[in-house]
Amino acid sequence: MSLVNFTTREITCKIVYYGPGRSGKTTNLQYVYSQVPSDRKGQMVSLATRTDRTLFFDFLPLDLGTISGFTTKFQLYTVPGQVYYNATRKLVLQGADGVVFVADSQLRQLDENLESLQNLQANILEHGVDVRTMPMVIQFNKQDLPPELILTPPELDDALNFRALPTFPADALHGPGVFETLKGIAAGVLRGLSEGSGGIRRL
């Protein structure tokens, strides 16, 4: 749950980038890290294997600036994508204020996307949170690959987006879509802190 410090007027939110293995979650964080001036970010912490696969999580603290008079900080986390790391995924997901689901647009990865999405829902449920109230966006990553290898955003929308969540086509390696995705999830999470919203509901 977002942490609000009324004395210093600070908000801190935890955002988790979720998705199947090699869909580009870490790449999203790396791109953000490379673009943001150093006074607005902290060290990027990566707990990765020697082959650069995320072992536990990546972590990037980000200073978004002042919103409605509150200094707003985001903590971006990724989870390991591989199926057998579910225990760690569940740990990282704990206390998340919002989730970015990074889908791999490649046709041959469709099943992995679906499996990961189901796994996300199950893990959110296990934390006792009503999935429908968890701010979430979907990013269709790798849209830069040759058209014959990937599905188009409308096709992916049909296949993955049952809850009519905001979606963002992206090429995280080179940047397009990364910013829009972050903005989308930020808006979703902060809406939960604004007037007339119920926020995340526990079951």
Binding site: G42, Q43, I67
Partner: protein, 156 residues
């Protein structure tokens, strides 16, 4: 911010006392999700967040390991380094479970840290309020601010 700062005021008095009793160099009180509630000794907010994220991760993974072994949880963890030691412990409070990470140097000892941590944990438990339903904090039109902030963040 290199002395003590707190997000929730009730944590301040117990923390100040603990730091001085245990001669701790750095202390972070956080939620199991890695959100910082109070800290002492960090020079940069961003270093603090990374320490909290890693501390919460250690606690979470050792807790998961404990469960696999049929233990309820490990009460506290201690690592000794050449110049620093860390003490990491779970502290149940009415505000929910909290994690306390303590970094200490050779001027004190793990024995003293453990001794005074017990008092600290008890003080936190006494001081913590039950988590309350929160009033909305942001104005309805926060999105204009968000756009402006993100645009400057990405220098667009």
């Amino acid at each position: 911010m290199s002395t003590t700062t707190v997000v929730e005021a009730w944590a301040e008095a117990p923390l100040v006392r603990y730091v001085s009793q245990a001669s701790a160099r750095l202390v972070v009180v956080m939620t199991p999700a890695g959100q910082v509630l109070a800290q002492h000794g960090f020079a940069r907010a961003m270093d603090l967040m990374a320490a909290a994220a890693l501390g919460a991760a250690i606690m979470a993974s050792s807790g998961a390991l404990a469960q696999q072994l049929g233990e309820r949880s490990f009460g506290a963890l201690f690592h000794a380094g050449r110049h620093h030691g860390i003490h990491l412990a779970l502290c149940p409070t009415p505000r929910g479970s909290l994690i306390v990470l303590t970094v200490f140097g050779r001027e004190t000892s793990i024995g003293l840290v453990e001794l005074f941590y017990e008092e600290f944990a008890a003080a936190l438990k006494r001081a913590a309020p039950v988590e309350q339903v929160r009033e909305p904090v942001l104005a309805k039109d926060f999105e204009a601010d968000l756009n402006r902030s993100l645009t400057s963040l990405f220098r667009r």
